[in-house]
Amino acid sequence: MIKFLLMVNKQGQTRLSKYYERVDIGKRPFLEADVVKGCLSRKKEECSFVEYKDFKLVYRQYAALFIVVGISDTENELSIYELVHNFVEVLDKYFSHSELDIMLNLDKVHIILDEMIQNGHIVETNKNRILAPLLALDQMSEPH
């Protein structure tokens, strides 16, 4: 199962964090810093899977943003790798602009993520179906 998902920029600042396994609120910054340090220090030739403590990390870099997913041992790393890409494609479809958009509309990103991953497992991977509730919400709030 997926333990957490983080979006971090190159300076190590967290842009998005979602935990699917209970981690103490006090420990989160420490965990994030540690994980990010591990991923940021990787060179180009190294592969995208890192073994961290007793679980694994899958990370992918998109320009200045790193997406890091912590997964348990039994999960298929390549499949999560694809999932991350899928997630980015969905975000791309909705926010057709840049990452700045992503960061400024954090709540919407959460909604998208909730549609895709629930409770540590994949729910939906079809872009249209993921974006449907969000588009409906937008329509509802438009007439203001």
């Binding site: 899977f49 709540d107 909604i111 629930q118 729910v123 991977t125 203001h144």
Partner: protein, 762 residues
């Protein structure tokens, strides 16, 4: 105005803060404003404030004052407020907070809301942070939703059910029938959720597992549909139809087919089909193939299928994508370690893989290389068709990736080389050639130096059946070794190897002994303490103990890996190396000490048939008596508590009136505690008695402080010392003890070997 605008402003301001302090200031102001607004309990800005608070929370600042606000927002009838409220609940609340109880009722109501989006919010939140109580309360609701007609709801309900089953395993039976019926859905989201739910149920409860074996045919059908279907725009990822679902189903099949022949049979065709039809040019396809391989190796599949799986892994090894190479290497390692039998049949394939691996190791990312090289060595060890191939492979790996070889492989390699007796000549020639080309790879240089030291005479003889003869002069060899000694690229350990090798050559060459003597004496004043110590000892060997030199430096016997005696093949130098930890407690070597030490060690080794590896001592003996610091390397054994309830003890040494007894205090299957007791039946006191011990390499030895070092005469007293032995690899325990004492003015020293230990007292 949508809720995000205010949030955006705040985010902009926070990002604009140039220092940590500035940021904290901004956030504190915002939090204060938010708190004030929460207390006002009105207005449409509540959701904005909570959203801002969540952002602040994500950055790591305390946000617990927002919990009640979450509860209030969840109860609100407006969707966007509910949305933020639930999000807040998922992020800020967990079952330990009291506020979470308050939302139970809201969730319950929302689960039966008319809008599916509201229902989904509730499901999501329940699945995220529902406590056991809440789960028990709401489980029937979830079950109802599982059977509802809306696929959007069904998929979320399935995953919520997974959470419930984790929290309250007994409720698993409630969901079993629903889960089964969900498999006939067409919607992939629902299918996915159903497969996850079934996986969870099967993992929790073996009876359910039995039950679900019946659905294997259905799963096989679904997979076939996915694999053989044409292009489906809805789920297509890089040409594969819904790889996520395929991977999930394969994993479930793995769980169902494990240890069960009928289920495994039903899957065989399907797995073969997936393996052959999936396009592995993109990651998505590789992910599916990887899962297939894992499944094949785990269930009771037929051998043809296993060959196919190993072949797939072999193909992965040559892939350009480093991720795929990493995956295949880790899987191959797992397979080699666990499923030895299956892999034995595919020896040929694996050997081929290994040959290719050498090429891919170079392209491999550095941190995997150590992993890979040990994997290669392991596999080469098991599957080598001939010793010569084995040695060739090892040399090849050392030359291409020697920098990434783990340290413990060096002794293993040396041991391997010693066993291949007929290949000594060939090996030393090859290594020599490798050495003169490149001295930067430490492990290679170490192995080469050791071999040259040991088999230098073969090298100098020039003829060799297996390779073209090359005339190597003594000067050339010494030049090479000196180069290693002087090079700044050589690590201290490597220099140690080189110095020892130079010393060993002094008995194997005829003309340049003086040169060796001068090299050795130069290093007697080297800054590196380790090197200096060795050099001084070798010097002493030349001067005072020249008569012993030949005997000491003669060829090492073949080291049998399993016997106590598996060392890194070093002679005096090697034992010194392992004493590093204790040496730090010694002052810089005094001239009179080395003679003593050399005497000690040479005696031990000269008298031994199998060189033993003394493990680093954690001796707490005082630094005072010189002999005990020298003995710090070989471990002191003095029994701790001997005495009254006389447990069975064995007399291991008896001479000159000194008796040494061994008794086992405690024995577990990975270690034991023994006590050595020394008594004296002569007329004079025995003074400065020290006991030293050595054990097989994989055993760890810890010696407690001895009770003293003087044994009164006439059996009036004794000296005891306790030794703790930790034997995690459960090798046969043997121990060699050297007892050193002064009796009636003369120093005596003896060594005994203990092969069997008495059974413990209790």
């Amino acid at each position: 105005m949508s809720p995000s605008v205010r949030l955006q402003e705040m985010i902009r301001v926070i990002r604009g803060a140039r220092t940590q302090g500035e940021e904290r200031g901004v956030i504190q102001r915002e939090c204060a404003a938010i708190r004030a607004q929460f207390r006002q309990a009105d207005n449409g800005t509540r959701s904005h404030n909570l959203a801002k608070l969540l952002y602040v929370h994500m950055l790591g600042y305390p946000a617990h004052f927002g919990q009640m606000e979450c509860v209030r927002l969840i109860a609100s009838p407006r969707y966007n407020e509910k949305r933020v409220g639930y999000l807040g609940a998922m992020m800020l609340l967990d079952e330990k907070q009291d506020a979470s109880l308050l939302i139970t009722n809201s969730i319950k109501n929302d689960l039966s809301h008319s809008s599916q989006y509201v229902q989904s919010l509730a499901l999501c939140t329940l699945g995220c942070m529902g406590s056991a109580e809440m789960c028990r309360d709401l489980a029937p609701e979830i079950d109802r939703l599982l059977r509802a007609s809306n696929s959007y709801i069904k998929k979320k309900a399935a995953l919520c059910a997974v959470h419930i089953v984790r929290k309250v395993p007994e409720l698993g039976e409630l969901f079993t029938p629903a889960a089964q019926s969900l498999l006939s859905e067409k919607n992939h989201g629902v299918l996915h959720g159903a497969v996850v739910l079934i996986t969870e149920l099967c993992e929790r409860n073996p009876d359910t597992l039995e039950q679900f074996r019946k659905v294997v045919p259905e799963l096989v059908q679904i997979m076939k549909g996915l694999v053989m279907s044409g292009y489906s725009p809805e789920h297509n990822v890089a040409g594969i139809s819904d790889p996520f679902l395929q991977v999930r189903i394969l994993r479930l099949l793995r769980i169902l087919g494990r240890n069960n022949d009928t289920a495994s049979d039903a899957m065989n065709d399907l797995l073969a089909q997936v393996a052959t039809n999936t396009d592995s040019s993109k990651t998505a396809g590789s992910a599916v193939l990887y899962e297939t391989v894992l499944t094949v190796m785990d269930i009771k599949s037929e051998s043809g299928l296993r060959v196919l799986a190993v072949n797939i892994l072999g193909r992965f090894l040559l892939n350009n994508d480093r991720n795929i190479r990493y995956i295949s290497m880790t899987s191959l390692q797992k397979i080699v370690q666990t499923d030895h039998n299956a892999v034995q049949r595919h020896r040929g394939t694996i050997v081929d893989c290994l040959k290719d691996q050498d090429a891919s190791v170079k392209r491999c990312p550095p941190e995997l290389r150590a992993h890979t090289t040990s994997g290669i060595f392991n596999a080469a060890e098991r599957y080598a068709p001939s010793q010569r191939w084995h040695i060739d492979t090892i040399l090849h790996v050392l030359t291409t990736a020697g920098g990434d070889v783990r340290d413990e492989t060096v002794p293993n390699l040396i041991q391997l080389i010693t066993t291949a007796t007929e290949l000594h000549c060939y090996t030393v020639h090859k290594l020599y050639r490798a050495l003169i080309t490149d001295i930067s790879v430490q492990s290679l240089v170490q192995v080469a130096c050791w071999c040259i030291g040991e088999y230098g005479d073969l090298l100098l003889r020039g003829e060799c059946e297996e390779t073209e003869p090359v005339q190597v002069a003594e000067d050339d060899v010494l030049d090479a070794l000196e180069m290693v000694l002087q090079s700044h690229m050589s690590s201290p350990a490597t220099r140690g190897f080189a110095l020892t090798a130079t010393m060993k050559l002094s008995t194997r060459i005829t003309h340049n002994v003086d040169r060796i003597r001068s090299i050795v004496s130069i290093y007697g004043s080297c800054i590196d303490v380790e090197l200096q110590q060795r050099a001084v000892e070798y010097n002493a060997l030349f001067k005072k103990y020249d008569h012993m030199r030949a005997a000491v430096l003669e060829r090492m016997p073949v080291i049998d890996k399993s016997s106590p005696g598996h060392t890194n093949g070093e002679s005096a130098g090697g034992t010194m190396k392992e004493m590093e930890p204790t040496k730090l407690t010694q002052e810089v070597v005094l001239p009179q000490e080395p003679a003593n030490k050399v005497c000690d060690l040479l005696d031990l080794l000269g008298g031994s048939a199998e060189p033993l590896q003394p493990s680093p001592a954690l001796s707490t003996t005082p630094l005072g008596p010189v002999s005990s610091t020298a003995g710090g390397d070989l471990l002191d054994l003095l029994g701790g508590l001997d005495v009254t309830p006389v447990p069975p003890s064995v007399i291991v040494y008896e001479k000159n009136g000194v008796t040494l007894k061994l008794q086992t205090d405690r024995q577990t299957d990975t270690g034991m505690t023994v006590t050595l007791t020394a008594t004296n039946s002569t007329d004079g006191d025995i003074t400065s008695i020290t006991l030293q011990a050595a054990v097989p390499k994989s055993v760890q030895l810890q010696m407690k402080a001895p009770s003293g070092d003087i044994i009164p005469a006439h059996g009036l007293g004794q000296v005891t010392q306790t030794v703790l032995l930790n034997n995690p690899n459960k090798v046969s325990l043997k121990m060699r003890v050297r007892v050193c004492y002064t009796s009636q003015g003369s120093v005596c020293q003896d060594t005994v070997q203990i092969d069997s230990f008495p059974s413990p007292a209790w």
